[in-house]
Symmetry: C2
Subunit: 685 residues, 2 copies
């Protein structure tokens, strides 16, 4: 036996007064030395850690995380089947990627926007009749300019925040708590909508090619969400390289569609095929143009992803990330512009059951395997885009929780090293959206852009403040670029909020301040909790009866409720008496003769402990006991009253049907009282 005995050491924190005194020696070996040498080892293994005082540490093995009870064991086995074995904390790998891998991994969200952005814009314009569709070209030009401006703006962020410059971080650091939280709320809405919109658009790509699946769209959506949930709880980060394939395939697919379409168009001198005649349902006014612009601007979502992920690039990380961002914006520009121009030339109009991209691919490539390939690549890249939110959203909540702005449960790292709770929250929110909006892209789009551009704007404004503060070399130029980005983003935000207000943006405009207020309330809650738990002097004055900080401050009274006099209650009484404190047994009697009979049995047993009988003419047991304990405690509030509750424990859940469940109900009732301690003495049947 080599465990280190209690050392006599002077107290270093003088406010903790009182006599802890010399403690009785431990009757067992807390280091488990001989136990681990015996046959039972396996759940624990001793790792000798070289530490200053030469202590040994007990390390739990994987087996020690398995629950011991039946029901939980089944659930655990199911979880292991779906998620795989748990991973050690040390298994976290920080893989760094080349530019050519980083490009597809971090740009699937942005590039896949081409699948729904142009269509969303046309879907608004067509309300003004087929004649209004011509407005798509100037609107697309403005969006292209915006892409360049925002891209340039984020190039500055990457340089300034080489460890990752998420909007929450940048806005918090430079603008303060509330703008940071607003950016975070915008991003949260953005991530949830990325999942919902990408899945809805991916399903639309599939149902365009396979119309038979159309009726099952919402179920398909939920199935995809379930697969993403399981995959991300399992931890899919190692599949990074695999993720490159669909993105490149999508880029190639759009490239082929645009190239073939351009060649065909060149063949008849770039003559515009007139769109089928559609009667206007709304006048082609400024509001319609603004709404079309706001919808088209969803093509810019995801443009910030690389700036969050700078440390994932090979060194020099920020330089590589910047280059990759430039590549991405260039690809996005070409794909977006090519799509819009070709749609215009081919006279394509949005239809209910086939996406614009599908019509375009059909027009360029016919209905053959090449067309099918385009649709498959589109669906896959959208799946990937949805998946990126599964990295971003939980990480955002983790950062927020670290700052006390979100429940601490989001700090929790799951079995497989994923932030499980954040993943589950994301899935729940996205599933609600998919069900409520019936997995329809056009219904979800109006909610989308507001959050994104709020986060863009706050982040760029934050960058302007950053440059002004740090005044590094060339800061004026960087600040000017970020200011331009901020101004343009703010303009888009305003356009989106106004133009889409009645179509759903109002929901997001209520949600975001609501989330900010929640975050602030959570922060206050945690601050109050920390203050209450703080060991600085004076903090406990307000908590009557729960102020004992050293053993000599504890004055005991032990109360043992005794329902019947049997082995379980006698064991509880013996336990209580063995503590050497004053003990009072309480019996509650719901019938008069019963009280007399109980007292007789009690005296026959030996009457070792003072007994108080409570008569309960209304037959209630739990509440009168709790009130009685409160009445006892009210006599001497400085006492620590321990209620020792005997409890019969059965082996199987169904057996509980056959025993009264007074003990748990009593515990629940007593827990509310201050200054009580509740001891359960289980008796296993």
């Amino acid at each position: 036996m080599a465990w280190v005995p209690q050392r006599d050491r002077p107290s270093r924190t003088p406010h903790v007064a009182g006599a802890w005194g010399p403690r009785p020696p431990l009757p067992i070996d807390p280091g488990l030395h001989s136990y681990l040498a015996g046959p039972e080892r396996g759940r624990f293994t001793t790792v000798r850690m070289v530490r200053a005082d030469g202590d040994d540490e007990v390390v739990a093995t994987e087996a020690a995380r398995a629950p011991a009870t039946g029901g939980a064991r089944v659930a655990e086995r199911l979880r292991r089947t779906i998620l795989g074995p748990p991973l050690r904390s040390s298994a976290v790998v920080h893989e760094r990627v080349r530019k050519l891998v980083g490009l597809p991994v971090f740009s699937s969200d942005a590039l896949s926007s081409v699948a729904y952005g142009p269509e969303a814009m046309l879907a608004v314009l067509v309300l003004g009749g087929s004649g209004a569709l011509g407005a798509s070209l100037p609107i697309a030009l403005i969006i292209a300019i915006l892409m360049v401006a925002v891209g340039a703006s984020y190039r500055q962020t990457i340089r300034a925040y080489p460890h990752g410059g998420g909007s929450y971080l940048v806005a918090s650091e430079n603008l303060g708590r509330v703008p940071g939280l607003a950016a975070a709320a915008g991003l949260m809405a953005d991530y949830v909508l990325t999942v919902a919109v990408s899945i809805a658009a991916g399903i639309a790509a599939v149902t365009s090619a396979v119309p038979a699946l159309r009726a099952d769209a919402p179920e398909l959506g939920l199935a995809v969400v379930a697969v993403l949930l399981a995959g991300n709880l399992r931890g899919m980060s190692s599949a990074g390289r695999l993720f490159a394939v669909p993105t490149y395939a999508f880029v190639a697919a759009i490239g082929i569609v645009v190239a073939v379409g351009a060649v065909k168009a060149a063949a008849h001198g770039f003559a515009t095929t007139p769109a089928p005649r559609i009667e206007p349902t709304e006048p082609l006014g400024a509001l319609l143009i603004l709404r079309a612009f706001a919808s088209g601007a969803t093509a810019m979502t995801g443009i910030e992803a690389i700036s969050n992920a700078v440390p994932a690039f090979q060194p020099t990380a920020w330089r590589n990330a910047r280059t990759t961002l430039t590549w991405m914006v260039s690809l996005l520009l070409v794909m977006f512009a090519g799509t819009v121009v070709l749609v215009h030339l081919d006279g394509i109009v949005p239809r209910a059951h086939e996406t614009v991209l599908s019509q375009l691919a059909r027009a360029s490539l016919g209905g053959g395997p090449l067309y099918a390939g385009v649709q498959a690549a589109t669906a896959l890249v959208l799946l990937l885009a949805a998946n990126t939110a599964f990295n971003g959203f939980p990480r955002l909540l983790y950062f927020m929780a670290r700052d006390g702005h979100a429940p601490r449960a989001f700090l929790h790292v799951g079995d497989r090293l994923a932030y499980s709770n954040g993943i589950i929250a994301l899935v729940a929110a996205a599933a609600v959206l998919l069900v409520v909006f019936d997995a329809r892209t056009d219904a979800l789009i109006p909610l989308y852009a507001v959050g994104v551009f709020l986060a863009f704007t706050l982040s760029q404004v934050g960058m302007v403040v950053h440059w002004r503060r740090h005044r590094e070399r060339g800061w004026r130029r960087s600040a000017a670029i970020n200011a331009a980005g901020a101004a343009l983003s703010a303009a888009v935000l305003a356009v989106t909020a106004v133009g889409k207000f009645t179509e759903g943006a109002w929901l997001v405009l209520i949600l975001i301040p609501g989330l900010v207020l929640c975050s602030l309330a959570i922060l206050r809650l945690y601050r109050r909790t920390d203050a209450a738990l703080s060991m600085s002097p004076g903090s406990w004055d307000a908590r009557a009866g729960e102020t004992q900080e050293s053993p000599d401050q504890v004055r005991h009274l032990v109360v043992v409720p005794v329902e019947e006099l049997h082995l379980a209650s006698v064991r509880a009484l013996a336990y209580a008496a063995s503590l050497g404190t004053p003990v009072l047994a309480v019996h509650i009697s719901t019938a008069e003769q019963e009280a007399t009979r109980f007292r007789e049995r009690w005296e026959a047993w030996g009457d070792y402990v003072p007994l108080q009988i409570l008569a309960s003419p209304y037959r209630a047991i739990v509440a009168p006991l709790a009130h009685y304990v409160a009445a006892l405690h009210a006599q001497r509030p400085e006492l620590t009253v321990t209620v020792v509750v005997p409890e019969l424990v059965v082996h199987r859940a169904w057996q509980r049907l056959f025993h009264d469940r007074v003990a748990p109900r009593l515990r629940r009732a007593l827990r509310e009282q201050r200054g009580l301690v509740i001891t359960t003495v289980p008796f296993h049947l």
Copy 2:
């Protein structure tokens, strides 16, 4: 302060050895004398009870049964609104009734059978075509003879069991446990079906008059069940006299219908109106006759009710009960026979949407207010019949629970002095039947008779044995009557079981043995429990670690899991240390740096208690802690290991979202281990 101190008294049970020693004096007054004199009294009141040793008793008032916590308080207020204020145990009234009140109260079940019995018989016969309907007269004659025989048989039971002779009691006492349980199972099925069939038939009476309600029959049925549930939980026994009205109204209604019909029939010389021609769908064979007989025999259900309720009659109770039984059987006979004969004379055949009784009333009285009155009286008496099961079923379960044959929860007397759990069980079962069988009388009838006649048979056989044992004056005659009753009941049972087997009786024939086996299993379970809890020597040998019967047998080790070093955990440590036992603090560390940081804080705090750090590289907390405690305990199994768990308690349920819930999970995991004691030290935020 006048409470009685601990008396020194020699142990009367020598097997409980050990030193309980002189106990420290109580620091409070368990009798609450001064407390109750203070301003806070109200929840308790002291009632001086004159007892041999002059003790005072503390009596809980009605206010003391109110729960203290928010959610429970709302539920309590809702319950009080529906159920009324709780009643004292002493509020039980044993009202004794005159014959003229007892007759309607206890015979609604039997008499209301006239509303569905004849119809059920005809509904089978009509399958043999309209020509087969003539068989109704001889079948009804046999049933009438049976009624007399069973009635006479129960007259004997009343004399022999003046304190109430339910089938369960009579069969258990005279035939043994298994026949008693079989009778009980039959009765349970009977009670549930009484509720379902009576409600279904009552709704049929209503929808016959108001066809517009036909589509809502199942919902109406559930609504009636809900009203019966609330009414019976409230306790409706005091409404006894009110219950007389519908029964007498029904008797009068049938009397008028039969009388008017008879006068009309006499007017044209009792000539039979030919029934509308219906083609046979089955041959008119012996099986059809038997099935018709079995269905018609449901008219006899409820005939045993008076024999259960003998003590409710004014003295001489058994004599009055007997007379009432004779009146009831006579009424039943006349009403049953009159209905069957008149139906035959009027050529009435069962129809899908109108009951036979409704057709008969229409034929006799036209469609006016008198007809409506007949239907209303029928529906009301059927409601009353359903209600009788709410007395019988819970009381049966109470008797079974008292003998250990049913969960002890059925012993529980609710707020309003009703056996709430039995009432809830009955409602649940009846609701399931109503939903599954769509509230259709004809679908429920085949299930009905089996249980009733099983109980009849076993009870009558039991009476034969009773007479043979006791050989009172005139026992031979009584035994002969009971033997005849038993033989006839057994014959009906056999006919019903065979004839209705494929129509649903098989379900009851499986259910009844199943219930008997369950009851036997429950008995074994309780016997095992009682043996395990028994304080006789030797009973605890098998329970390692939970055998301490006196304080000197308890050897302590206290383990305190410490997640973080804050006021809540320090309070738990101080509490643990104040017990004067060896204390070990355990910290589980899910990250390596964290362990070092924790040890530094621990040492800065004062290092008053030995600390063991567990490393958990898989980040699990609860399971490794539980396994570690098990490993400690395995070193010295004779120790009583107390795990002192600090727990943050928040005021509102939603706040739990913001704190980890390790304490309750840990308690659950530890509860499974033998020989542990779990102490919760709550810290209120």
